[in-house]
């Protein structure tokens, strides 16, 4: 099953604005974050979401408060699309107490349980069982919340994929698994990891309604997610969505990504999801250049002030840490 690359019903201006704002915010966060990384201010791993913004953006725009998400090692985009506070995200990357995890987690572990974000994860594939678990908890509570796990092409060859999606299926959980198929796991091409690169077929093989969508088209992603979410709220979950996409750079900040073919990169850059979100907002939503510029400036300022906020924040003290560490 696959879907058209653009929406059938015209999306509202509000939705178009939201999608553009989100996609652009992710773009700024990653671009500026990489600069901080290169300055040595961010340490550890940093897996940029550049090029994949359309997916988090489109998916989260189809969710509502009370829903849940779980994410991957490449999780900044999901947090932002979910409405995270950029101050607390930057503070986390800068190891500060004002960060989402008090600087204990870092890039691969940003979470916001109260807001329903079960967090990024340093173990490829682990977000799937966690998300299915949240969906199970919600079913038991009688809630109609939907849980989305963002996962990857790499994770689709991992046992957790089969085990947990199958559990979601037999229990008819309100769970959407979004595979961000960026066609690489570090330097390994998807064709080298599996014979069947249409990953949505793995859902069908265990009886899960499964779709494929252009992940670089945020509107299309939104539309198919909305459908999936509605199916889930009607008790027809789970649903699998495979979103095709491509990274704009290497696997992490320090990976030059030389193995990525130029022509393929050019192809996907020509279909840049942020450009498409902007174009959609302008073409279908009627936004003009001035409005766009204003929004872009706002977002840039938001990031700048987040860096200021974070820089001014302090780290957890050794004393507080010692106290925190008791009882493990």
């Amino acid at each position: 099953m696959s879907t058209p690359s653009s929406s059938a019903n015209a999306p509202s201006r509000e939705l178009l604005e939201k999608i553009f704002r989100t996609a652009y915010k992710i773009r700024v966060f990653e671009t500026e974050g990489i600069k901080l990384y290169r300055q040595g201010l961010i340490r550890g791993y940093f897996h940029p979401y550049l090029g994949q913004e359309g997916i988090a953006t489109g998916v989260c725009a189809a969710l509502r408060e009370g829903d849940f998400i779980a994410s991957t090692h490449r999780g900044h985009g999901h947090c932002i699309a979910w409405g995270a506070d950029v101050n607390r995200m930057v503070a986390e990357l800068l190891q500060k107490e004002s960060g989402y995890c008090k600087g204990f987690g870092g890039s691969m572990h940003i979470a916001d349980i109260k807001a329903g974000n079960l967090g990024a994860n340093g173990i490829v594939g682990a977000g799937t069982p966690l998300g299915v678990g949240a969906a199970l908890a919600n079913q038991i509570k009688g809630s109609d919340a939907v849980t989305v796990t963002f996962t990857t092409d790499g994770a689709s060859n991992n046992g957790t994929f089969l085990e947990s999606l199958n559990l979601a299926a037999i229990w008819n959980l309100a769970f959407v698994l979004v595979i961000e198929n960026n066609q690489y796991a570090v330097s390994t091409k998807i064709e080298e990891s599996t014979r069947e690169t249409d990953l949505y077929k793995r859902g069908i093989a265990i009886g899960v309604p499964s779709f494929q969508v252009d992940g670089n088209d945020p509107i299309a992603v939104h539309d198919i997610t909305r459908e999936a979410v509605e199916m889930c709220r009607r008790g027809e979950g789970p649903v699998l969505i495979e979103a095709r996409t491509f990274r704009h750079m290497g696997h992490h900040v320090n990976d030059p990504g030389k193995y990525m073919p130029e022509d393929k990169l050019a192809y996907y850059k020509a279909r840049d999801p942020v450009d498409r979100a902007r174009a959609a907002f302008m073409d279908m939503g009627g936004a003009d250049k001035a409005e766009i510029e204003k929004i872009e400036a706002e977002i840039a300022a938001e990031f700048e002030s987040a860096v200021e906020f974070s820089t001014a924040s302090s780290e957890v003290s050794i004393e507080d840490f010692r106290e925190f560490a008791v009882g493990y």
């Binding site: 849940f68 779980a70 960060g99 989402y100 995890c101 008090k102 600087g103 204990f104 987690g105 572990h109 979470a111 916001d112 349980i113 109260k114 079960l118 967090g119 994860n121 340093g122 173990i123 682990a126 799937t128 069982p129 966690l130 998300g131 299915v132 678990g133 949240a134 199970l136 908890a137 919600n138 079913q139 038991i140 509570k141 849980t147 046992g159 957790t160 089969l162 085990e163 947990s164 199958n166 559990l167 037999i170 229990w171 925190f324 009882g327 493990y328």
Partner: protein, 335 residues
């Protein structure tokens, strides 16, 4: 206080039943636990009482089950995941070690994981190497996990109820040989806090530290030692994490001699760690080397004679206690 005699498995069932009645967030999943009532009959009757939403069978997918349990816990439920054999928990080790145990710290204390994994271990009956392990040491080493190993029906009930009210991931390790053992369980609300050891038999000459199925063995050894004029104190930590160091140190300060008895194989077991704590704290008080009585460093063989030879027996405990008392240093009595 009034008591009733219950089997260990009945006590576990009561704990689950009472907590399911009390909190709608408690639910249980596992292989064959619903209609069939579980391989150890712990969950019998729960499906009928709480329905298929809260009592669910699963496919054979331990990593998935455990991971789903952890996710449900993070999202605010109180799952119990039953894994048939602790050996099979190895399939879900990533979810235990890298997710459940670490989530709280990784989220700066925001995320909590009130997840209970119930399973059973131990050798006996010829079920061979993949169904006989005592793997508590693996969980004991991982910061963030609670490790609970009840030896009696009363402790089983009280500790499981406590497990279902606290907020950290619990490895609740039962023993295949204990399910049908009986004991008195207090009527009414009976809760046993984590981190409180229990003196199963008081004594002054030597401290026998034992947990799970080694408690009956230690008690039997104490009986035999008593006949030889030696008063052994039998101390059951009940929870290995948190460990009641204070009570262990108080007992050994008194007796000046410790014998630690574990069914798991010797190398890198929990006994070694308890030994290291005692020697650190009571180095100048000990009258004899701390004795460790443990399983052989070998996978458990199918052959029943060899299986028995692989895990500690009463006579091994008696011999160790006597060595600790500088009696029979050549171990002749054990032969």
């Amino acid at each position: 206080m009034a008591f009733r005699e219950l089997m260990y498995r009945e006590a576990l069932r009561e704990a689950i039943d009472e907590e399911m009645a009390r909190s709608p967030e408690v639910f249980i999943i596992g292989e064959g636990i619903a209609e069939r009532g579980g391989s150890y009959k712990v969950t019998e009757g729960l499906l009928a009482k709480y329905g298929p939403k809260r009592v669910r069978d699963t496919p054979i997918a331990e990593a998935g089950m455990i991971g789903v349990g952890v996710g449900a816990a993070i999202a605010g439920a109180r799952p119990i995941v039953e894994i048939l054999y602790v050996d099979f928990a190895m399939l879900g080790m990533d979810m235990i070690v890298n997710q459940a145990a670490k989530f709280r710290l990784m989220t700066g204390g925001e995320g909590r994981v009130p997840f209970v994994l119930r399973t059973q271990g131990g050798a006996g009956g010829g079920v061979a190497a993949q169904h006989s392990q005592s793997l508590e040491a693996l969980f004991y080493h991982i910061p963030g996990l609670r490790v609970v190993m009840p030896s009696s029906p009363a402790d089983a009930k009280g500790l499981l109820k406590y497990a279902l009210r606290q907020s950290d991931p619990v490895m609740f390790l039962e023993h295949k040989h204990l399910y049908m053992t009986k004991g008195l369980v207090p009527d009414g609300e009976h809760i046993v806090e984590f981190g409180k050891a229990d003196i199963k038999r008081p004594g002054k000459d030597v401290t026998l530290i034992a947990w799970s199925n080694m408690v009956p063995t230690a008690l039997a050894a104490a009986e035999e030692l008593a006949a030889q004029g030696i008063e052994a104190e039998v101390l059951d930590p009940r929870t290995l994490v948190p460990l009641d160091k204070a009570m262990i140190l108080a007992s050994v300060s008194k007796t000046k001699r410790a014998v630690i008895v574990q069914e798991a194989n010797r190398r890198g077991g929990v006994a070694s760690d308890i030994c290291s704590i005692i020697q650190e704290e009571l180095f100048y008080d000990l009258d004899a080397p701390i004795e460790i009585v443990a399983g052989l460093d070998i996978p458990i063989p199918f052959n029943l004679t060899l299986e028995k030879a692989s895990v500690p027996q009463k006579s091994d405990v008696v011999a160790a206690a006597r060595r600790a008392l500088h009696q029979d240093p050549l171990g002749l009595a054990a032969q």
